[in-house]
């Protein structure tokens, strides 16, 4: 309505017929109409519901795709131990040098209930052959600590890719906060055990900064 009267006024002005002026008027009216269309677009948004998640009171539910700091995968047979065979590929591959593994050697127990553990830890048998122990009993490596310096980690995921037995995976640890660098030095073995015990290992810092 406004635009209509707008045009009429100018039609009166254009007594001297110059096509340039009419073209200008048409352009201006088209421009005005585009403004109205724009108002329509934003006005439409105004009446649609807000998409904000009110964070402390609500949380999102699509955390399954989140890639947090890596964690150890528990062994299928004995959830208290890791799938890790201590091959050291992850330590070598890590471009940031943020992984350290501490382990000790132990004689393989022949008790049948520990069979699973032995199979998991020394399944490849490569270590046993190298050592060539004089006794019949093989020596196996047992993990003491799996240290992840998360403050160095760039989350590239090469350790996860290179692991031959899929003993590493990304955690879904979203709530990670600390006030010093040492808060981000995790012992993943302790974390895994803590998670198994009570499921309280939600903060890896709690399990690891030993």
């Amino acid at each position: 309505m406004v635009t209509g009267s707008d045009g009429k006024e100018h039609a009166e002005l254009g007594k001297s017929p110059s096509p340039g002026l009419f073209r200008e008027i048409r352009k201006a009216l088209e421009g005005l109409w585009s403004l109205v269309v724009g108002l329509g677009v934003t006005g439409n948004q105004f009446y649609r519901p807000s998409v904000t998640v009110h964070y402390p009171r609500q949380t999102v539910d699509n955390l399954s795709t989140y890639r947090g700091p890596v964690e150890l995968v528990p062994s299928d047979k004995d959830p208290g131990t890791s799938k890790c065979i201590l091959c050291g590929m992850c330590v070598q591959t890590c471009p940031s040098g943020c992984i350290e593994i501490e382990s000790h050697q132990e004689e393989e127990p022949d008790a049948p209930e520990a069979e699973g553990k032995a199979a998991a830890a020394g399944g490849e048998g490569a270590e046993g052959e190298k050592k060539a122990p004089p006794k019949k009993k093989k020596k196996i490596k047992v993990m003491d600590k799996y240290l992840l310096k998360f403050h160095l980690c760039s989350l590239c995921g090469q350790c996860v890719q290179v692991c031959p037995v899929s003993a590493l995976r990304f955690s879904r640890e979203v709530y990670l906060a600390g006030t010093s660098r040492s808060d981000f030095e995790f012992d993943l073995l302790a974390r895994m055990r803590a998670q198994r015990r009570g499921g309280t290992g939600s903060n890896p810092g709690r399990g690891g900064s030993a």
Binding site: M1, V2, S5, D6, E9, H10, E12, L13, A28, L35, G38, L39, V41, T42, G43, Q45, F46, R48, P49, S50, V51, T52, H54
Partner: protein, 328 residues
Amino acid sequence: MNVLGIHIAVELIQIVVAVVAFLAFIGVNVLVLVLMERKVAGRFQRRPGPYEVGPHGSLQTLADAVKMMAKELHTPRGADKVLFWAAPIVTFAPVVVSFMPLPFGPKYLTGWEVNLGVVLILAFSSLGVFGICLAGWSSNNKWSLIGAARAVAQSVAYEIPLLLSVLAIAFQVGSLNLTEITAGQGSWPWQWNVAVQPLAFFIFVVSMLGETNRAPFDLPEAESELTAGFHTEYSGMGFGLFFMAEYAAMVVVCSVGTVLFLGGWKGPVFDGPWWFLAKVYGLLFVMMWFRWTFPRVRFDQLLNINWKWLTPLALLNLLAVAFLVKVV
């Protein structure tokens, strides 16, 4: 002589009371408007806006105001101290005066009955530019100076179509008294002046955006180019006064638009000040809607819109109105 003295005294007391009342009115309105602006901005972007302070963020601006008052008033090095601190006051004070002749409702809800209400408002609202100019000059800062220069060019330009569109209404009604202009309109929308003069209303709305430095004509403070334009260097309540002046000026121009074009306090079914406030806030919402829809224009575009379109249109409109009033 004595009678005259009493008359003057009564008038003076009335004015003082009105000024104090309007200061309170401005304070409350600014608090509400800033919250409204942020909430409306949120709605347009489909987010909640301020939410944490008070229920649904309703106390956010109050908290901001307290923070602003508690802040240090810092004078930048090399600034002209007297002008620098005079500028916010020079910007804010005329806006308060502009509220005086507005008829908020029937009878007593007018601060000061003046025959030349429209002229008073236009005169004092253009004084605000003077404050902005001072602020930009005395800050000793390039952004401020550019902002001030833009503000002056823009306000001078947009005053003309604004005045011409207001004059068209004054011609039609035959008065510059805002109360009489309201009285000349009926309660229903088709009895308002906007139905008679839609073109004048359109020109008025566009130039009121330019006059109050609101988006898409917010070049004097253009955040992305001039940090904050003319008030870059101001802290605490120095900035606060500019802020209040801006929002109060918005209320003033929307009130003038309401009185001139939308029937003032007259409305369907129940006439009264509530209609006045509802219309003013309706117009303010439209201003916010514009702000969150339209991008800022370039400076040459800004002046082209004014000199090539609004001013000739307003002149033609005025001529047509004068012709019709005289002949018909």
